[in-house]
Each structure stands twice: as C-alpha cells, then as structure tokens.
C-alpha cells in the first residue's frame, strides 16, 4: 500500500468486432468498443480486472484525461497503491454497448444507411453488454479475469458475468446493485425516458445533425436521476433550504434554492456529455435486467457458478436498497458459494459507491489479494 500520487494520462483505445448477436434476435455489425487499460498484464495473464461502469459512465475510469484534465469516474479507487492497485493488477474498463462515449450506440453511424442509427438501433440488454465485453477480453488474450467489479449498473454486469461466463472470472464485486430491477427502479427510469420523449426536439429520435437536441428533456431526466442518487440526509446536509445568492424569496420561478440550482446545473452539464437516445436504450437495458429470467428462483441461477463474491451495499441507498444485495447474498449462500458481504454505513445514498472510497478500499484490496492467492494456489 503506497500512498504515492502518480498522475497518469490514459489513452482510449478502440477495437472493432465484425458482429454481435443480440438477445432481441437482431445483430449489430460491426461493433466498436472504446476501452482504457491501466497497469501491466503479467506473463501468466492472471492479474486482469474488468471494471464495469454505471449508467452514465465511460471507459475513462482512472487517471487524468489529457484533453479535458478531468479525473476518471473511479479514479480514487483505481491507480498505483489504490484499491484496484495498478502496480499489481491490469485494469481494463470499456464503454458499454449502447453508450455514446466511443462504443457503438444509437448515435453511431449505421453502415447500411450512412446515417446514425437513432431509434433503428436494436434494443439491447445487460447480457448483450457483457457479451461484447467478453469479446474484448478475448481480444486482449485474457483467459480468466481475476475479477469483475462495478457499482449500480456495473454491479448488474458483474453478476451477469459470473452467471454467463462462470469459468472466465475468479472474483465478482457487485456494489450497490441488484439481481433484477424493481418496479421502483423501472418507474424512475420511465420518468426519465418520458421526459426525453416529450421534448419536441427529440423528434422521434432523429435529432442528429439538425443542430437541435432534446436538451430540456434529457436535463429533466438527469435531474430526477440525481435525486435518486442522493439521500434525504445528504441533500439536507448539502443544500438544506439555503437560497442561492440571495437571502430573501424572490417570489418567482428562478432557481432560488441551492438544490434547484444544483439540479439545473447537473442537468445542463449532462446534456453536453450524454446522448438522449443512449439514455433511452441503456435505461431500458437496466429495466429488462433480471438474472432469473422471470423464473423467480435466484438461487438456481447460480448453479455452476464458481467465482467468489464480495457484495457491498450502503445504508442510505434507497435506489438500490441493501435488501437487494442481501437477496443476492442469500442465493449465493444457498449454493454454498464463497461470499463476503457488508452493508457499509454512508449518508450519501446511491452515490456512496462513487464517493465512499475509504469504506470500500480495504475490503476490495483484501478480497483481490485473497482471490489472487487462491488462483495462484489452484
């Protein structure tokens, strides 16, 4: 454990695959994947970790972007001496299928028409995302991943990995995740989608190249999202009833409260970096996610799974509540699988998986070290 602050500037790499068969029956051809990699793959190719990003993340998980100067979305967890220690491990993160940050998605050009796919993009699933990630892992020559890890939608992908490719992954770290989207989770996603669809500038998804985009709808969707990522406590502590730049009510509808101004800022900022159609497709993929395929028996899904698991949840996360993680843990236990679980104390709500670094780091570090030892002994 070294505390050195090494600033590194990762590059985004691209790889093209001929075609990808999808759960909906369609196929995408070709498919591009954007990914970043940190650290060195060892000679035995046994130290590779795949990091799986959440809904709005991208391949830039760690290091400082040489162009924008921004740190990666999980930079505090990944790097030299950090929880995912790049001095020891080879860490890979790719943008998900359907995304808008380099991997093929609805904003990509459909080679058959020369136009962006827009709403002709096929509907995708978490399983499709993982199938594409597996093609990337094959491409990188990695036989067996030491671990797959991610929070929120990243945690769902981690679970999908464990079930779909049981012999390709030794350790699985789903954080603040679920084995199936609940009615409440679907409901919030649907509000976001309807906000986009109701924006006239969405134009049935055909807004690319028009100079217009459904910025209002996408911003509202993101505002709702941000509310669900926080907790009552974290919002009270962060904003309270404070007014912005004034001490009296203006009796109007400007962004008076700090919380209003914060949400508006987050919403408009999101519009600059995210595609509205990607929002529709990726949220739909999350909503379809049900590891049991509707069979209701989660335990049976883990028959044949060999990986060991570290499951984490957070006390104040009401979007992906602890009971959903505990459901996963119970199912793993019923198949006598090796599972560690902790409900970590946090006031940050669902955002905790991104910000509670100290809470998570030692657990991840201990789990990875043990998994590496077991793999070396096997």
């Amino acid at each position: 454990m070294t505390g050195k602050a090494v600033i590194f500037h990762p590059e985004t790499h691209f790889v093209r695959f001929e075609s990808l068969a999808l759960d909906c029956g369609a196929a995408l051809a070709p498919v591009d994947v954007a990914y970043q990699a940190y650290g060195q793959l060892n000679a035995a190719r046994s130290n590779a970790i795949l990091i799986l990003h959440a809904f709005s993340g991208d391949a830039h998980a760690a290091g400082v972007d040489p162009k924008t100067g921004k740190p990666g979305w999980w930079d505090s967890m990944i790097g030299p001496g950090r929880a995912f220690d790049t001095d020891q491990y080879y860490v890979v993160c790719s943008n998900v299928l359907g995304g808008c940050r380099g991997t093929t998605g609805p904003s990509s050009i459909n080679p058959a028409t020369g136009q962006p796919y827009a709403m002709t993009f096929p509907v995708i699933t978490i399983g499709d995302m993982v199938r594409l990630q597996k093609m990337l892992v094959d491409h990188l020559g990695i036989e067996r991943l030491l671990a797959v890890a991610g929070g929120s939608m990243g945690g769902m992908q981690a679970l999908e990995w464990a079930v779909s490719y049981p012999d390709r992954v030794a350790g699985v770290i789903p954080i603040a995740a679920t084995a199936r989207h609940s009615a409440q989770q679907i409901a919030f996603n649907e509000v976001g989608r309807q906000a986009i669809i109701a924006d006239p500038d969405w134009n049935e998804g055909n807004y690319y190249g028009t100079g217009r985009k459904p910025a209002r709808g996408l911003a509202v969707a993101r505002m709702v999202g941000h509310i669900t990522y926080m907790s009552d406590t974290s919002m009270r502590e962060k904003f309270g009833r404070r007014l912005r730049a004034k001490d009296k009510y203006g009796y109007d509808f400007s962004a008076e409260f700090e919380v209003e101004s914060y949400l508006r800022y987050r919403g408009s900022e999101f519009v600059n970096r995210f595609d509205a159609n990607s929002y529709l497709y990726i949220t739909k993929a999350m909503d379809y996610f049900d590891l049991t395929n509707g069979s209701h028996s989660l335990a049976g899904v883990f028959d044949g799974v060999q990986a060991r698991f570290l499951v984490l949840s957070f006390t104040s996360d009401w979007l992906y509540p602890s009971y959903q993680s505990q459901e996963i843990v119970r199912a793993l236990r019923s198949r006598n699988l090796d599972v560690a679980y902790c409900e970590l104390p946090s006031a940050y709500g669902h955002d905790a998986f991104l910000v509670e670094v100290d809470e998570q780091a030692d657990l991840v570090r201990g789990f990875l070290a043990r998994t590496l030892r077991m793999q070396a002994a096997a």
């Binding site: 454990m1 236990r333 006598n336 679980y341 902790c342 409900e343 970590l344 657990l363 570090r365």
Partner: protein, 214 residues
C-alpha cells in the same frame, strides 16, 4: 503456499502461534480440532482472526457470519469471506451438510434459541464445534451464594442489564441437552484460563469446548 503468500501484501510475514494471535484458549483448542483442507463456517466470527489463521495454516476454506459491521469490514479487509448478518438467518439458507465444521465460539449463550441453533449447526455441518462459558463454575456459585446477585465475575463480566448473555448454562446442562438430542460428543475440552481441567469440570472449568456430530 509460500510462493503465493509472497504476492499478498496484507498477510503478516512471520508465523505467530495461534495463542499469540488469538489470545483465547478456546480458539487454541478449536484451531487444533479442525482438520486441514476442510470447509469451516464460523458463526459470530468477529474480525475473522480464527478464520484467517485457519486459512493460512490449515488451508481451510473459511467462511464467517458476523452482525457487527465494523468487525465484518476488518475481516473482509484481511481476505476472509465474512458476511454481515444474523446467525439464525444465515444458517437457514445453507443446504444440508455443506460444511465440515460449524464453529460457535462463546456465542451459544447469546442466541435467542440455542437449541434451534444447535440443530441447524448439525444440519448444515457434518460436525459442530461449540465453546461456551460454564455457569456452573465455583466462582459463579459462590458469588450467587454469598451476594445473592446476578453473576459478575471474570467469566461473566457484565452487569445483568447490559450483558449479551441471555441464557446461562453449565457443562452439566449442556451434557443433558446433547444426550436428549442424541448428539454425540466426539471430544470435550475443559479449560480454566489456559490450563486444562482434568476433574470436576462442571465445578472447575471456566470454558468448555465440544466437538459434536449427529
């Protein structure tokens, strides 16, 4: 094992004796009882010290259950698979006979339904290891006789109102129970401090450790 160990930055390099690490005589007995390469579940495992020792020194597949989140975090940080939860609920999820040993060390007297826990342990594990403080020890008897108050001794250091112990049992009580349940005691160890008690365990032993099977 040593080559793999060199990869692990978490593990201490020097080999400590089990007593040195764990500082508990019942842990020392348990660590000797457990066969190498077995599958072990420790109920109420605390920060996983015993499990970590067993994994390191006996190549045991070590799992644990602990209710206290801070202890769970320390256990996972040293690479032990512990999950935060309640003992009763945890046992219920497991299939029959999936562990070689289920350990319950100094916790039986804290469980709400000790008999249920014992039965579950012998369902989930081929063997159960149970350690408990002996309420029949002479110091407890004397304290009760002379002061007429709930015991507060080295063995039972809590005031009655903040004690985690909700059932008080002696070695004889336990013997009666396992006889009635037709459980076989393969071995029994009686301890006073770090010494082994040879005679009159119900009077002289502070802690008993049983290795049980159906």
């Amino acid at each position: 094992m040593s080559a793999a160990g060199a990869l692990d930055p978490v593990r201490p390099r020097r080999r400590h004796s089990v007593r040195e690490i764990l500082g508990r005589s019942d842990y020392a007995i348990i660590s000797e009882l457990i066969e190498p390469d077995s599958r072990v579940l420790d109920l109420g495992c605390g920060d996983g010290a015993l499990l970590a020792w067993l994994a390191e020194n006996k190549r045991v597949d070590a799992r644990g259950v602990e209710i206290d989140g801070e202890k769970v975090k320390r256990a996972i940080a040293q690479g032990v698979s512990v999950y935060q939860g309640d003992i009763n609920e945890a046992l219920a999820d497991y299939p029959d006979q999936c562990f070689d040993y289920i350990i319950l060390s100094q916790t039986l007297q804290e469980t709400r339904q000790p008999l249920h826990v014992l039965r579950e342990m012998l369902r989930v594990g081929r063997r159960a290891v149970v350690a408990f403080p002996n309420f029949g020890h002479w110091s407890v008897r004397l304290a009760m006789l002379f002061f007429g108050r709930a015991p507060k001794t080295r063995l039972f250091p809590y005031e009655w109102y903040d004690s985690p112990n909700i059932h008080f049992l002696s070695i004889d009580d336990f013997e009666l129970l396992i006889a009635r349940e037709r459980v076989t005691a393969e071995r029994a160890y009686f301890l006073a401090g770090h010494r082994t008690v040879r005679a009159l365990p119900n009077l002289l032993a502070e802690v008993a450790v049983y290795l049980l099977r159906r």
